[in-house]
């Protein structure tokens, strides 16, 4: 049985970037990896494929029913790249798209055929409906990871994800493997995320700093692992990969009520703002030469 994990988090928080780097790092470590993008944007695996997108599962099946030979495309270091696909913005039902794509891959033995050591689902948004919860149901992923920054809305999304995990946990659904803190610029941000996990019976598996190397590599259409393998950032992703592959933790998180979450957050946000003000003031003081 392959290890199957699903990565969730607020829109634009860095799920696909983190996932692709994680896949690339795992592949470098010698594991056979399959990355499945569950997002109609079809952009999960682009940095594994030199910036080029691949035909999606749903499009392929739509155009030629019964053709199941063209759903998996090789990317960096032989990583199996799959994009579920889905409707154009503003039409159809993306949630149903995810259900249909995962069922198609799963029921037809396509995943078994490639028998990867690890399968990573990169899932858009939070678990807004039954479709987006598909990967965490019994029999698909066994661990969920969530990417967050120290922004309130990002943590809010994590808290919602925890509610989804809780819901499905009664029925054999996936449990939490850990929280990935992303785009970290200060230790206070780390402290805030850490405090959140402590209060919700979860844990941080890795902090990933905000880094211009990531941006530069993305512009070149590659992951940091491929584009800047010797950088400090690449080492962070490799460390994450080693931790994920060995991680057996399964947390049953205890999410905040929405009101309590807001109360908890306001204290931290004030501190972060103050911290930023001090930073800016310092710069101004230094610049003024006093």
């Amino acid at each position: 049985m392959p290890k199957q994990i699903a990565i969730y988090g607020k829109g634009g928080i860095g799920k696909s970037t983190t996932t692709s780097n994680l896949s690339a790092a795992l592949s470098d470590l010698g594991y056979s990896v399959m990355q499945i993008g569950c997002d109609p944007k079809n952009d999960s695996t682009t940095t594994l494929r030199k910036g080029k997108s691949i035909p999606t599962v749903l499009d392929t099946v739509r155009q030629r029913s019964g053709d199941l030979d063209n759903l998996v495309h090789e990317g960096y270091n032989g990583i199996y790249c799959v994009e579920a696909g889905g409707p154009e913005p503003g039409v159809g039902c993306a949630g149903r798209g995810i259900i249909a794509a995962i069922e198609l891959l799963d029921n037809n033995g396509i995943i078994d055929e490639y028998s990867p050591d690890i399968i990573i689902y990169d899932v858009l948004g939070d678990v807004v409906c039954g479709g987006f919860a598909m990967p965490i149901r019994k029999g698909i992923a066994d661990q969920v990871y969530t990417v967050t920054s120290s922004d309130y809305m990002a943590i809010y999304a994590v808290n919602n994800l925890f509610k989804g995990i809780l819901k499905y946990s009664n029925n054999g659904g996936a449990l939490l493997g850990g929280v990935i803190g992303n785009s970290i610029k200060s230790s206070l941000q780390e402290d805030m995320i850490k405090d959140f996990t402590e209060r919700t019976n979860s844990d941080v598996i890795q902090f990933v700093p905000r880094s211009p190397t990531v941006t530069r590599c993305e512009l070149d259409g590659v992951t940091t692992i491929e584009g800047a393998p010797d950088s400090r950032q690449a080492e962070v992703y490799r460390e994450l990969a080693r931790k994920v592959i060995n991680n057996k933790d399964k947390y049953l998180p205890t999410p905040f009520d929405n009101d309590d979450l807001a109360d908890w957050a306001s204290g931290w946000i004030n501190q972060l703002l103050l911290n930023r003000k001090v930073e800016i003031d310092n710069i101004q003081e230094e610049a003024s030469g006093i």
């Binding site: 029913s65 053709d67 039902c93 198609l104 490639y114 019994k138 029999g139």
Partner: protein
Amino acid sequence: MVHGNGHHRGSCRKNKIKRILDLDKDTCPNREQRANGTNVYYGKASQLLQDAKEGNINIPDRKFQQSGGCVLNFYLSNRVTTIRDAVTIFNAPVGCSAGSLGYRELYRGVPEALGRTNEYNNAWLTTNLQQEDVIYGASEKLRDAILKAEERYHPQAIFILTSCTTGIIGEDIEGTVDEVQAEVNAKIVPIHCEGIRSRLVQTGYDAFWHAILKYLVKEPEKKQDDLVNVASMLSYTWQDRLEIKRLLGKLGLRVNFIPEFATVSDFEQLSEAAVTAPICPTYTDYLSRGLEQKYGVPYFLYPSPVGFSSTDEWLRNIAKYTGKEDEVEKLIEEEHKIWEPKLNAIKQEFVSLRKNGEKPTVLGSLGQGRLVSQMPYFDELGLATPAAMAQDFDDLLIDELEEIVEKSGDFQLMVNTFQAAEQANVTTNLDPDLTLTCPFQGGTWERDNNVTRIHSLRGDPEPTSAQAGYAGAVAFGNFLLHAFKNRSYHKTLSEKTEKSYKDWWYEQDNPLYYLNESK
């Protein structure tokens, strides 16, 4: 640990999909994926075969399409509701269950003297999903329905039929089932028959067998060497059931008929049988493979017991697995002695009615399973089949169709499910002496030559409607002969009714005129 690079994929995907069923999954793949099925084709049978072999089959859209059934309501629901000591829950808006309403009355047409049980009721519930359930999820409603079913009926099993609605919102049916199972005695069996899953209704049958294999069939306690599993088609009649029972009974064998009118224990003991025998290969395929894969119960898929030579073959196959090789030869001889003169008389009469020495032509409208079993039978009757219609076609029957094309030569083949207009067009253009249609495929319409409705439902107990075994071959032959001789029904029909379509449609030489070629 295998590295991504240089990892080679296994053998041909298509064979792999067909043979190995993954019963750990919640459901089966759909027929399009599992067997490259289609229900849109008109042309030479040989061409369809070639397309199938090369993997070139697809399902183009029609710009004009007549109504049909869905994976849920095209006979799946009617079948499941007949299971005697079970309750069916439609996890659906109320309309999805509408098709089941009439069936209780229909089945009550079978006299008790012929074996229908006295205690016969269709018990089913619907969760009656509403807007609110779609928005907020409906697992509580399903839970309630399961508990109500248990409390009211104390059934042995509770079947859950899923629908488009639960499929679209991604209801976690298995999650609810796992949770509630501990609270009820009945075994809960969720079936994934969401209408939108597939354009081929056969997917519903596969989904049903998947659930049966996954939830209901028990580990064998003992082998029952005289038990023969027969998954009987709804559209074979009650008489066919009796004929099969009679023939196997003469060999000292018992029939385990599923699913219609079966009890839950009939399903549980499927694993103990000596063999699974087909009535319709396309219907039985998934069950047969699953029983072999999981419990080593052998099976064969061809032929079905239709016509003399196929019935001989069918019985011999069963005898092989039950150690009745000697007995079966005796039985075949006896039966031929009784029935062959009657079949020959029918054949003779067809010969005497020939116009200019030519064989009468028959255009059969059949499921793909019936297609491969009835064409050899028509041959036995001395009828020519220059063309045929099938409701669907997929890779599961490539070998059988190939055998028929080799034996009887090429023929025109129309594949559609319930497209009455296409059927009317083909029938008019080919103008056969006899046409067989399914009552749901357009029934009868006004034409000068004969159109005869032939598919009867299980609820039809008339001896004249039989088709299976030796008695059925004779009854069916007689039926065709009468239709061939007596044209008054069609004469009256042509006089009294207007044409269903405008002339240009009948004159149109392409029955797939409305196909969307661009896709």
